[in-house]
């Protein structure tokens, strides 16, 4: 039994008089201890909504959440709000995209870190300050005693993200959700932050759910990858499997669209045409069909199911999967 078991999670936004919009439509995946699982997709594919749903941070009004989210045997969707609040920060923690806006601008870093230690571990005064300094030290912030007194705007971007990670891991959570933790950082800092997250996973056995649109991040850190499109997983595989043989046309297109240094000069970039707005309802067929190079009539009749066309554990939601040329001719 995995630590986190997400089964047919769905999130629907609706309001009085407005048409319901389905943000997440039956997503299932598991995360084990010491494992890094990626949720990949472009803006609007439902990856951030999934993470907020797991944490119970979606607004109560106008949102319907369905399915099961089992964490250590408890269903996070039906658990009492008080219990969930106690679990947040201690068992589950989250790192957000923009480190500057995720830190309170008018309060020194130290108070923000000790606040969590006080809340979940009952540490106070000097004991809390010492632990906070140790935490900052552990995430690689030099001179932590001085940093504790500083305000978020005095830290560099990488340092802020480190501080946020320190806050998230303050109580040794068992599951860490990272929602695009490197998007707002430059490339060298990105590598450092990924390295830090990897260390945490390796040393503490933390389960990490990595939400990103950056395939470089996926290649660098994830063990398992779920590619989302329009609220559904379209491909789910191990990292090596996915990069070696992307099978869903969307995943294939995503990998194909990465600019390559070894490509000849003047070679045009190959984007996936259209945008995520060009989609059809999953009930009518494959949501990706309008942008797909391989679609047939079959794609427009009924929802495609997740199948394993090639190897076990490599699931693809497509009736016309992209197969390597050798296999096609065979």
């Amino acid at each position: 039994m995995a630590l986190l078991n997400v089964d047919q999670l769905s999130v629907t936004f609706g309001g009085r008089g407005r048409k319901d919009s389905i943000a997440v439509d039956g997503v299932s995946f598991t995360v084990d201890q010491g494992q890094v699982v990626g949720l990949v997709g472009e803006s609007g594919c439902g990856k951030s909504v999934t993470s907020l749903a797991l944490m119970g941070l979606l607004p109560e009004k106008g949102v319907k959440v369905g399915g099961r989210v089992e964490f250590d045997g408890q269903d996070l969707l039906t658990i009492s709000r008080r219990k969930l609040r106690d679990m947040r920060g201690s068992q589950l923690a989250m790192i957000f995209q923009d480190p500057l806006s995720s830190l309170n601008p008018v309060i020194p870093i130290g108070i923000q870190v000790t606040e969590i230690l006080q809340r979940h571990r009952g540490l106070k005064g000097e004991a809390a300050r010492k632990e906070a300094a140790d935490l900052l030290d552990r995430v690689g912030i030099p001179d932590p005693r001085r940093r504790l007194k500083e305000y978020p705007h005095q830290l560099s971007g990488g340092m802020r993200q480190r501080a946020l990670i320190a806050m998230a891991v303050a109580c040794a959570p068992r599951l860490l959700i990272a929602d695009e933790p490197t998007t707002a950082l430059d490339v060298t800092i990105q590598a450092q932050i990924l390295e830090l997250l990897k260390e945490l996973v390796d040393q503490e056995g933390t389960a990490l759910l990595m939400i990103t649109h950056d395939l470089g991040v996926v290649a660098g850190i994830c063990d398992e990858v779920n590619v989302l499109y329009a609220g559904r997983a379209v491909e789910s595989a191990g990292r090596r499997e996915l990069f070696a043989a992307p099978t869903h046309p969307y995943a294939h297109g995503l990998l194909g669209s990465i600019p390559r240094l070894d490509a000849p000069r003047g070679e045009p970039l190959r984007p996936i045409r259209g945008s995520i707005n060009d989609k059809i309802a999953w009930a009518d067929g494959c949501a990706f069909a309008p942008r797909c190079d391989y679609y047939t009539m079959e794609c427009l009749t009924g929802t495609p199911e997740l199948t394993e066309p090639r190897t076990a554990g490599h699931q693809v939601r497509c009736v016309n999967p992209v197969l390597p040329k050798a296999e096609v001719s065979a």
């Binding site: 944490m55 109560e60 920060g89 957000f96 995720s102 309060i107 007194k149 500083e150 005095q154």
Partner: protein
């Protein structure tokens, strides 16, 4: 040998230089704002005007050349015959209708004016802030019940806001009778909905901020989120409004006095009361009204200038 010592020198020098750069720890937001205030002409002018006014309010009674209430020159002024005494060496601002020295009355009256302004602003600020915090906290984190509480509170403040402020103050003053406390309370009550709405709106805006979501994700309790996350970030517009409110409070207190609802005690001169008394003789001696009027205008202007400068200094969009 020489190269080695040279290298050692170089390293020492480098260490020295790196030590120096170590002390560049910056300032907090408030210190940053203060630094920007010091660079703003508007803020300096406003602060100087307010400073002069406060000094006048403190030392006024001691430096006033004559008693503000003694009708020393009663024999020279005949108000009903239109005979007044204007500026002269003995009485710099001339005499009022009862033969009292206007300059002394202005000096002594400053204290009363400042007191009315500050106290009524504080009444509005404190009560308004409490109401605003309640409403803002209920709306952002209270769920459905909280939103209902917020709606009720806000409709009540809307009701208060929809009344013309002077009318509201006059009603309060009329109910409570004529006294100095009445003026302060009446003017303070007018400010309550302003502060409440402002703080609530500011808290609502902060309630959706990323760091509030991050705090929630870390399991911080709602009460603490309100007190340590949302509230401190919502205060800057309120502080600005407090400065601006001082100006309106002084003007409104003057208006109440002018309408005859002010302090009835003639022993304590107050600019608003002086203005109100001067209007009867405006045809013959306009200067008698001009002194308190100009005093009120300049003071209000000082507070407004400082308030506007603070608004700019605290604006996060201009933070560099």
């Amino acid at each position: 040998m020489t190269t080695l010592t040279k290298r050692a020198d170089k390293i020492d020098r480098l260490a020295e230089l790196t030590q120096q750069t170590e002390s560049t720890s910056g300032a907090s937001l408030w210190r940053e704002a203060l630094r920007r205030l010091r660079n703003s002409k508007m803020a300096i002018i406003g602060a100087v005007v307010i400073g002069l006014f406060v000094v006048m309010a403190i030392v006024g009674p001691w430096v006033a050349p004559y008693s503000p209430t003694a009708q020393t020159w009663r024999g020279e002024v005949f108000a009903n015959q239109g005979k007044f005494v204007g500026m002269r060496g003995e009485n710099w601002f001339g005499l009022d209708h009862l033969g009292r020295d206007l300059f002394s009355r202005m000096l002594v009256g400053a204290r009363q004016t400042l007191l009315v302004g500050v106290v009524s602003m504080l009444i509005g600020l404190v009560i308004g802030a409490v109401v605003g915090i309640l409403s803002g906290a209920a709306a952002t984190l209270g769920g459905k019940v909280g939103q209902r509480i917020d709606t009720v509170i806000m409709r009540i403040t809307d009701l208060m806001l929809s009344l013309p402020s002077l009318l509201l103050a006059v009603s309060v003053a009329a109910v409570m009778g004529q006294s100095l406390t009445t003026v302060m309370i009446a003017v303070g009550v007018v400010q309550i909905p302003v502060f409440a709405r402002l703080l609530r709106g500011s808290m609502l805006a902060q309630g959706g901020a990323d760091y509030v979501l991050a705090a929630k994700a870390l399991g911080i309790r709602k009460k603490r989120i309100v007190l340590t996350q949302i509230l401190p970030n919502s205060l800057s517009p309120v502080i600005v409004q407090a400065t601006l409110s001082l100006a309106t409070a002084i003007i409104e207190a003057a208006a109440l006095s002018y309408l005859g609802l002010g302090n009835p005690d003639p022993a304590i001169p107050e600019w608003g009361v002086m203005l109100s008394q001067a209007q009867r003789f405006f045809d013959n001696e306009p200067m008698m009204a001009a002194y308190p009027a100009v005093g009120i205008i300049i003071t209000a202007l000082g507070f407004t200038l400082l308030g506007e400068a603070m608004r700019e200094a605290l604006d996060p969009k201009l933070r560099g």
